[in-house]
Symmetry: D2
Subunit: 137 residues, 4 copies
């Protein structure tokens, strides 16, 4: 039981820096795009989570850069949730050049559930677990 | 009766692009920094405006670029509100290199008052006009 | 004789602000995405222009905001170059909600040709004019 | 022998997101601001490194978020290089609320030296090691 999702993203000019390559902070943003797509694929988009009174702030992030992406490149952002969420969700990411398959970076992001009202941490709500379990069935 | 405010901003690496210069969209963001400082100088910071039930979305923006800023440059963002706000506020901006005084760009941003609840446009609230009139007294 | 191009762009989470809507500076960036697509459609992508020794810095930008875009919205960015470029190119933009057709903003960006080596302004190079004239033939 | 540097950064409006807090990707950018200040404090700013024919791309990044920063907050970005650079430099970061001292996040960034011309990895150049060793003397 796991979630796996893919989405393609085109690098934009203003995301590149002086070195002519995508600024390293942007991959963290691409991870987020991939993560939001994964939630959509789970039929539980982030809006819906928020509407039901929960938020999912980022607890930690890590990224290992293998090679660089350049303007105009199309990137395949692969998102995986391998373990059933508890109080936290661990999301793994892998970004490849969509045209060549070359690995660009890998990473992982941990998110924590909190109640929107109290801003207190909590366990993954049941509706979220159901969406997770229903994936791939 | 007018508001005039200045704030210095340091260019950050990720704000520059492939050409080695600040991406043109960032000056629009610097204008916002200047505008927020002007509101603080008016003793009416944007938080306070929002807390009192109003929002100030941007209606239009224009910017004329004279020369470029580079990483590490310190920019002086000058913000002027020359006319008493009505349903809209016109904010004029001028960005100079703080070290050399060289003119980098000029621009203007028009904002409109709206009620946060109804999201309907409205006239500048009295507390805002008082803050505007009290400036420089 | 004119260039017209369209490209769809999906709003990303980090492009929205406190008000839940796309930060106004990002539309300036979407204009750039549209402009780059227009150059690709002219078979003269910005890379190619730069490789041939020219740069196209932004001289001025203006944007009029009609309504707001939100996260997850798909935007249709329409780009038009109605006049043959001289020393400058005037690019007009229009952004619509791709699903509903609602107008989100309109704007115009003026770019100037410069030689990469001398950084001096110059007339539009012949290869660029040919690409412009060949469009739609 | 170690490098330690501090710089204050003010949170800007467009760096906050829907939740009213700084978007998590921006701390990675603040780390970069801190890192560049550390290089300036070492009298070896990144420009100078680049001018001498070397680049310092990011190899990996990690960040652990403790609490959130909001618009208008002033952040103290603390940067530490505890070990003499080899082919890589490990830079540790800590961001605190400058007013309250509250810990906001911690992180580490690893950079690798490469020759600008060949884009091949290399050992830390002697001039860089000298700057590192001269710090705090």
């Amino acid at each position: 039981m796991a979630v796996r999702s893919e989405v393609n993203i085109e690098v934009r000019y203003y995301e590149t820096d002086l070195m002519g390559i995508v600024h390293h902070s942007n991959y963290i943003r691409y991870f987020e795009c991939g993560r939001h797509q994964a939630l959509i694929d789970m039929k539980m988009p982030i809006f819906e989570v928020e509407k039901r009174g929960f938020m999912l702030p980022v607890v930690s992030v890590e990224c290992n850069y293998k090679t660089s992406a350049r303007m105009g490149d199309v990137l395949k952002v692969i998102t995986m949730i391998n373990d059933e969420p508890m109080a936290k969700i661990r999301v793994e990411n892998r970004i490849e050049n969509a045209a060549t398959g070359e690995l660009i970076c890998t990473g992982a992001v941990v998110l924590g559930f909190i109640h929107s009202d109290s801003r207190k941490p909590c366990r993954a709500p049941e509706f979220f677990l159901e969406a997770f379990r229903a994936f791939n069935k």
